[in-house]
């Protein structure tokens, strides 16, 4: 595979995000420019005077990458360069929370920008605080579990649905554990004129607190438990789903992560796990994950 994300970056050992970026760039190729918001990716990849990026890349602020990319797109168009892939690659905090307004604007204006969110389900760069992508029942540093708390009380914000509501012609989810699928979806997003949105499950070893080496395995488990359905929406219609042959109970996914340890210790844990199982079951029903 061609590598456009250089070694020597400062990501944690076992982080899924560099692999995700590497796969995205492999699919997109060198004729690509990337704008990234503030976050782990920006910090680990561009400590001055070094950069892991081998394609043109720019960072401006936490919440404005999609506006920056909009400007890149029109300026490139202005200079007659309409054949360059323009990507935003950012984390869930900058995507689902602080950058929401700019993303909505970018989708609404129909820029030919492919927005890819690597979703590690919390603010990892600042120390594992809850984001609106943090799943129900997760213990984070701002929704810690305790005597009076079972962790995050809210479900994940459904960002792909928000993208679909903007009439974004290509919307999909992916996982670092399914590299062929991920690369194909990046290529499809690029081949579709106009904006695209792709949300990639990318486990964080520090924030999720799991055994070294398990990164890809965990992302695979999130898919196999149906907590992270893999699907595509094309022109607003559900176009494909990855079927799950043998659906695994959510416990298998939860029990290997420190962020869910409280579920297995507290007396209410079993009930909470049942609720999380219900989320997975609802995904099965909604997307038809199991034949």
């Amino acid at each position: 595979m061609q590598n456009l994300f250089a070694p020597g970056h400062r990501a944690c050992a076992g982080c899924a995000m560099p692999t995700t970026v590497k796969l995205i760039l492999d699919a997109a190729g060198p004729n690509t420019v990337v704008a990234s918001p503030t976050g782990c990716l920006e910090v680990v990849s561009t400590p001055y005077p070094e950069s892991a990026w081998m394609v043109p890349w720019v960072h401006s602020l936490f919440e404005n990458a999609s506006a920056v990319a909009s400007g890149i797109e029109v300026a490139l168009k202005r200079f007659g360069k309409t054949d360059i892939n323009i990507l935003v690659i950012g984390g869930d905090g900058s995507t689902l929370d602080i950058g929401m307004g700019c993303i909505s604007g970018m989708f609404d204006r129909g820029h030919n920008v492919k927005y890819i969110c690597y979703d590690n389900e919390a603010y990892m760069n600042t120390g594992v605080q809850r984001s609106s992508s943090t799943p129900y029942g997760t213990s984070t540093s701002t929704t810690p579990s305790g005597k009076a708390s079972f962790g995050n009380p809210r479900p994940k914000k459904d960002m792909p649905a928000i993208a679909v509501a903007h009439k974004v012609p290509y919307v999909a989810t992916a996982s670092v554990a399914y590299p062929v699928d991920l690369r194909n979806k990046v290529k499809k997003a690029i081949a579709t004129p106009g904006p695209a949105y792709l949300q990639v499950n990318a486990p964080c070893i520090t924030g999720w607190n799991f055994e070294a080496g398990n990164t890809v395995e965990l992302s695979r488990l999130s898919v196999e438990t149906c907590l992270w359905p893999l699907y595509e929406y094309i022109n607003g219609e559900l176009a494909s789903v990855k079927k799950i042959r043998s659906k695994k109970p959510v416990e298998e996914y939860l029990k290997v992560q420190g962020r869910y340890r409280h579920l297995f210790k507290s007396p209410d844990g079993a009930e909470l796990i049942r609720k999380i199982q219900a989320i997975a079951d609802a995904n099965v029903k909604k997307f038809g994950l199991v034949d």
Partner: protein
């Protein structure tokens, strides 16, 4: 060609003559007429540019960061709350050394909500690293626009520039203006050709993060570029004069300054009224003069020391205040004078906030107070000139 035209339309025409590649803006009073007219010029096929109607002022300036990194000449326009919403991008675009140009149609900042003119908005952004030029009238706002690009895009400077013009008072006034001639602007302002851009053939990384071992040096480089911009601002004005025949001074300008005992220092559209007042007070034998600030950032400390050295008293009038201290221009000016040998009284007057008219009567009152200070009658050295005490 001179024409009676609304200030906003004249500025839009000037922007068109600068051949911007990308314009991005969001509607806010009293800036809207500028971007509406630019939109019309695009719709009429007279202006060939990428015009982005974005979701907020924050997105407006952010999109220009992206466009500028690609090498586009960019323009935006805003005011007040919109400028405040851009706050983070102001620092960012300046730190990235992007030569953006933006017209600020000066307006008060709420609360309470107020759509009228003062200069609290841009004055509040004085530390953001943007060069700030203040126009006295529509013609100067027009002429400052190509000058702003010339300064911003100079390879030795590379800093964004705000052209500040008083909202409504200048944006909504109709008066005779010489519209810029395209051929003259073309000979004055060369195309923007940045050395490095976001380019797949030369894939650089822009905006890396910088740790404590180098951050100070980055801030210093930005600071140093502003200081060096002082000469560029003077040169840009002189070069402009050569081609267009109009000149308003470099960093500052003066009026009846030679023998002025009472020197008024200010910036923006109130200067016109002050000039009329000076003429009538001079006829009465009052030795009053004016020093006009054209460039507030970089701050023209040396030029001011020179211009003010023979005055007996200085009266600073400005449309802003620093809540918790005195006003901004006043404190900047006093800082510039402290280590010089000059020790005349310096009085500060905040006036014209939130659209309150600054009248001839107000100016005369300020001169009277200053005259008493000159004669040694101590009074508060900072006051709200037009305060309605009966309302308090």
């Amino acid at each position: 060609m001179m024409k009676v035209i609304e200030g906003s339309h004249a500025v839009a025409h000037a922007v068109m003559c600068c051949r911007p590649d990308v314009i991005s803006a969001y509607p806010i009073t009293p800036q809207t007429h500028i971007v509406e007219h630019l939109s019309q010029l695009v719709a009429d096929g007279k202006l060939n540019t990428e015009f982005l109607t974005v979701d907020s002022e924050f997105s407006a300036l952010s999109s220009l960061v992206g466009a500028s990194v690609v090498g586009a000449r960019c323009y935006s326009s805003t005011t007040s709350q919109g400028l405040a919403l851009m706050w983070e991008v102001l620092y960012n675009s300046s730190g990235l050394r992007l030569p953006l140009v933006m017209t600020v149609a000066n307006r008060a900042l709420g609360a309470p909500l107020n759509i009228w003119n003062d200069q609290q908005d841009s004055v509040g952004a004085r530390d953001s690293g943007w060069i700030q030029l203040y126009a006295e009238n529509v013609q100067e706002a027009v002429d400052m626009t190509p000058q702003a690009y010339k300064i911003a895009e100079d390879p030795d400077i590379l800093l964004p520039v705000m052209v500040c013009m008083d909202g409504f008072i200048l944006t909504h006034v109709y008066e005779p203006v010489y519209l810029l001639e395209q051929d003259k602007v073309d000979s004055y302002l060369p195309p923007y050709r940045p050395a490095v851009v976001l380019d797949t053939a030369n894939p650089k990384t822009f905006g890396a993060f910088v740790d404590p071992s180098k951050f100070t040096e980055y801030r210093y480089m930005q600071w140093d570029a502003q200081i060096r911009a002082k000469q560029k601002i003077v040169d840009a004005a002189l070069d402009f004069q050569k081609i267009f025949g109009r000149y308003y001074g470099g960093l500052i300008d003066t009026y009846h300054a030679e023998d002025a005992e009472i020197m008024i220092v200010t910036m923006g559209s109130v200067i016109g009224t002050i000039r009329d007042c000076i003429d009538s007070m001079r006829a009465e034998g009052i030795k009053v003069g004016l020093t006009k600030i054209r460039s507030y950032r970089p701050f023209p400390a040396e030029a001011l020391q020179k211009a003010l050295k023979d005055a007996s008293v200085i009266a600073v009038i400005e449309k802003d205040t620093t809540v918790g201290n005195q006003s901004a221009l006043l404190t900047d000016l006093k800082a510039a004078l402290y280590n010089s040998k000059l020790r005349m009284p310096v009085l500060g007057f905040t006036a014209g906030l939130g659209g309150r008219d600054i009248t001839v009567t107000d100016i005369r009152k300020m001169v009277e107070i200053s005259s008493r200070a000159k004669d040694g009658v101590a009074e508060s050295d900072y006051q709200f000139l037009d305060l309605k005490k009966e309302l308090l």
